[in-house]
Symmetry: C2
Subunit: 206 residues, 2 copies
Amino acid sequence: MAKEKDNKTEKAILEAALKVFTEKGFAAARMDDIAKEAQINRALLHYYFRSKDKMFDLIFSQRISEFLSGIALQIFSEKSLEDKITGIVDHEINTLSAHPYLPIFIFQELTQNPERIVQHAKNVGAHPGDMLKKFSLQVNEEIKKGTIRSVDPIQLFMNIMSMAIYPFVARPIIKMMLEFDDAGFNKLMKKRKEAVTDFIYKSLRP
Amino acid sequence: MAKEKDNKTEKAILEAALKVFTEKGFAAARMDDIAKEAQINRALLHYYFRSKDKMFDLIFSQRISEFLSGIALQIFSEKSLEDKITGIVDHEINTLSAHPYLPIFIFQELTQNPERIVQHAKNVGAHPGDMLKKFSLQVNEEIKKGTIRSVDPIQLFMNIMSMAIYPFVARPIIKMMLEFDDAGFNKLMKKRKEAVTDFIYKSLRP
DNA sequence: CCATAGTTTAACTTAATTGTTAAATAATAT
DNA sequence: ATATTATTTAACAATTAAGTTAAACTATGG
């Protein structure tokens, strides 16, 4: 089993690390958990990645970059404002339905280490502040054209991200309130895509 | 300094525990941190509260109960739908402006221990599921009356909570994107109270 | 003033976890 | 076939944190 050109063990470890880190957070994650999840032993973990910190940095920078670039991709596309909003909502709900633990993981670790984002933000190419500027510009154009009512673009942007992402943060409470299992929750989120975009467009009517 | 009728040390410890637990989460919180924050030593911590787990349970159940009962208070009030929505948004943003780490703390710990909520939910009196039913009833009444357009009450409820709470979850990213410090962020949240209620009412126009 | 509850200090135990290492074994590329 | 890489095993060192304990000290209510 030597010299695998397809490095499947490395992949298995990274997958396992992603799962354990996102589900438990850095502090509560155990190297043993990751090893078990990857179906190998702790020694091999250190054979591939030297330390817990190194593994975490790798996983975290991947996730934060993907999170930011996913939004950037929509914002800097050539779509109409309406299509962009739909694009953002659909993209977030689709992504998080597959990885519901991601937002809490990202925000929990970011809260404890806010400097981290500054470094990783650069990987995305554009400065994250530019996304908001670009978005604001397009919103103000539509207001001037009269296609939407007057609205603060920054508050609008927060509204869009909030409604798309928050339910995954509050997932345990929502599941309890509605007595839903995972399947029920995912169905609700699928319906939610249209509910959210509709709610936004309706609000933006002049 | 014996036989203090005002148990100021106990209060100092609980305040410190709240701060450290909410900022770092259970796993990363250190008893030493709490002791230092309360300006006492670790021995005295165990003199008052036997273990880290006991302290955490106390803090956590306080917070989750307050979170749920804060919402319940609004939902079961005698206000009009519009005033309730304003009440919820104002209450959440006011509370979280003073305790911005609360939501991530609650959801992070709840995600890792979803059974917890079932027990604490009972402390609130009403079953949390009843809140949604009560809210849905009132929304459907307004729809029938024609004062608001047709809308799924559950999605509406998620929208309200999302827009009020999510910015505090995403606080580090928002602060970075806008290059805001704490004061700037709080001003933004103050403005946001009206922005959110306005956004909702505008969307609900028939 | 003195018994009592509060508090500190410091040393200690215990347990958990990360990280290391050496030696043995398995698989495979050349 | 053999050199090389991958993997396991198992024991160990180092570190960190929680929790305990005893002794001494402090403040104060009665």
